[in-house]
């Protein structure tokens, strides 16, 4: 075990360090942040033998290129159908391999998916903010965005050759366009016909996206009442509608309060797969009851734990 040094030869926009996030601070204006696709992130870390929430690198469709300058470090790539080019040999994401001094690693978007995770065998030496290395996009606090030209140190880096090979890509990691929602909490601002239009669609993802949220294109669903509500808490998954009728789904780095009405809220357990959609992909909202939402979330949690446990056992 020794240190490894990676040089960032290219980093696209929205490539940043994330970990399990910083929950419990919404009352101070701080969203949880953390990975956009939490399941793929945990899979990458666990496949390598790391803690599920260890700091790792979130890669957007902008892509990332690294060069190992010294040391040996195994890595895992999970999330989306990205293309991994390791010293000239191409593989798909969802695999573990080992990078050695002098070798180059390029990760770029492939056939599907918007977010991909690179976990490293060792400890990423990155700054923390409020106990977490997750990068908060608006402020840049936390581990930080990756920029071309920077170097990254991995402490206690090592080869974990025994873990090399494919990571299973489960069905629930595929992009999901059918989103389960609970209606409201501000559906009173919308005419019943507008609610029907919201649930009928069709909606599509637009290219106006970042870690704070994604704008959708679809039917006109402008609020009818005067927008005079005091700012209220927002959650990851809130479907906020501005005065002009544009719908935005709030995501990992969402603002914590806002004065625009929320017509519905996407179930949290649907968000990891939702963010893997790409601009132009269709989206449909399906209303469920609160009790239904609880049942769906519990079933999803059982599926996710079983998948992650299998990764740990298979390589333990």
């Amino acid at each position: 075990m020794s240190d490894a040094t990676l040089a960032v030869t290219f980093a696209g926009p929205h490539v940043s360090v994330q970990d399990g996030g910083r929950p419990g601070l919404m009352r101070y204006g701080v969203p949880c942040s953390g990975p956009m696709d939490r399941l793929a992130f945990a899979a990458a870390n666990l496949a390598l033998g790391n803690a599920a929430h260890a700091p790792a690198i979130e890669i957007s469709m902008g892509g990332l290129m690294l060069e190992c300058q010294s040391g040996v470090v195994s890595y895992a790539v999970a999330g989306g159908g990205f293309i991994v080019d390791h010293a000239g040999t191409k593989r798909s994401s969802w695999s573990v391999a080992t990078l050695r001094a002098g070798e180059k690693l390029a990760i770029r978007p492939g056939h599907w998916g918007s977010w991909c995770y690179l976990a490293l065998a060792g400890t990423l030496a990155v700054p923390e903010w409020l106990g977490s290395a997750s990068t908060h996009a608006l402020s840049g606090f936390g581990g930080g965005r990756l920029v071309s030209g920077q170097r990254m140190q991995i402490a206690d880096a090592g080869g974990r050759e025994r873990r090399e090979g494919d990571i299973p890509c489960p069905l629930q990691a595929r992009p999901r366009g059918e989103l389960r929602v609970t209606m409201g909490p501000q559906q009173r601002f919308f005419h019943p016909d507008t609610i029907t239009a919201f649930l009928s669609g069709p909606w599509t993802m637009t290219s106006a996206w970042d870690r704070m949220g994604v704008r959708l294109r679809g039917p006109a669903i402008a609020p009818q009442a005067e927008l005079d509500m005091p700012s209220e808490p927002i959650v990851r998954g809130s479907v906020q509608v501005a005065g002009d009728g544009v719908a935005t789904v709030l995501l990992a780095d969402h603002q914590t309060t806002g004065g625009y009405p929320k017509i519905a809220t996407v179930l949290d357990c649907d968000l990891d797969a939702f963010v893997q959609l790409r601009p132009g992909d269709p989206v449909l909202f399906r209303a469920v009851t609160p009790a239904g939402a609880i049942g769906i979330a519990r079933t999803a949690a059982i599926g996710a734990s079983a998948y992650l446990e299998a990764i740990v056992k298979g390589r333990g």
Binding site: M26, Y28, S139, P185, P230, T256, A297
Partner: protein, 233 residues
């Protein structure tokens, strides 16, 4: 106690996704409504139900966030109903913070516009701002954005029609009855009337945010030299 507005009987409980419950006590920014929010916030922190993750108090509503594997909306609502209007919202003595502000022209790009709209001189605007008694109503929007209620009537301005980009951290902003000191560079549609070197994000892990909700704030005028010294600290 229940209040009614537009046919809604408060408190209103709304389920949000699989993990939260929103409890609304009204639809306006008013001390008696905010007081009920803070009382429930305090009661839930003292008597948390199983599965409670966090609560987020706002002006007229509080978000109760729970673990859906442990609790559900029914349990959260039952716990909240039991605690409604219990105890007091206030700590016996809220802390008073003195926040230094420099009102020099280049740090206060909207001071002249606010003066014009209020039919006052810039010095009178500064005096009015300094005379206000402010209370931390909530944190919202972005890290450390503490919304202070208490801007004197004469300085209450609607927001600008469009946000201005790149307003630096430490800007003292006003809109309506609210004032805030920004913590990161952001676009804003509020009016920039000064700059403060106060560290609201404290870098102290034991107490990372300067204010608690309910604390009182007064502004104190400082010279450019004092501001520079504080800011460069």
């Amino acid at each position: 106690m229940c209040a009614v507005a537009r046919g809604r009987v408060f408190p209103v409980f709304s389920a949000i996704a699989e993990h939260s419950l929103l409890v609304e006590f009204g639809e306006t920014i008013a001390p008696e409504i905010h007081d009920r929010v803070l009382r429930l916030d305090k009661a839930l922190s003292e008597v948390p139900f199983e599965g409670l993750i966090e609560t987020v108090p706002a002006y007229a509503a509080i978000l109760i966030h729970f673990d859906p594997l442990v609790a559900d909306h029914v349990a959260a609502e039952a716990a909240a109903r039991q605690l409604l209007d219990r105890g007091t919202a206030r700590t016996a003595r809220p802390r008073l913070h003195e926040v230094p502000v420099c009102y020099d022209d280049d740090l206060a790009p909207d001071l002249a516009l606010v003066a014009e709209a209020a039919r006052l001189s810039p010095e009178e605007v500064i005096a009015a701002h300094l005379a206000g008694h402010y209370e931390v109503f909530l944190y919202g929007f972005a890290p450390g954005y503490a919304y202070l209620a208490g801007v004197p009537e004469v300085l209450r301005m609607p927001r600008k029609p469009a946000a201005v980009r790149g307003i630096p951290a430490g800007s003292v902003l006003i809109a309506g009855q609210q004032c805030l000191v920004s913590t990161i560079t952001m676009p804003t549609g509020w009016w920039v009337i000064g700059r403060s070197a106060a560290r609201i994000l404290t870098d102290d892990s034991a107490r990372p945010f300067l204010f608690d909700v309910g604390d009182e704030v007064r502004f104190r005028r400082v010279t450019r030299a004092e501001y520079e010294r504080e800011a460069g600290r």
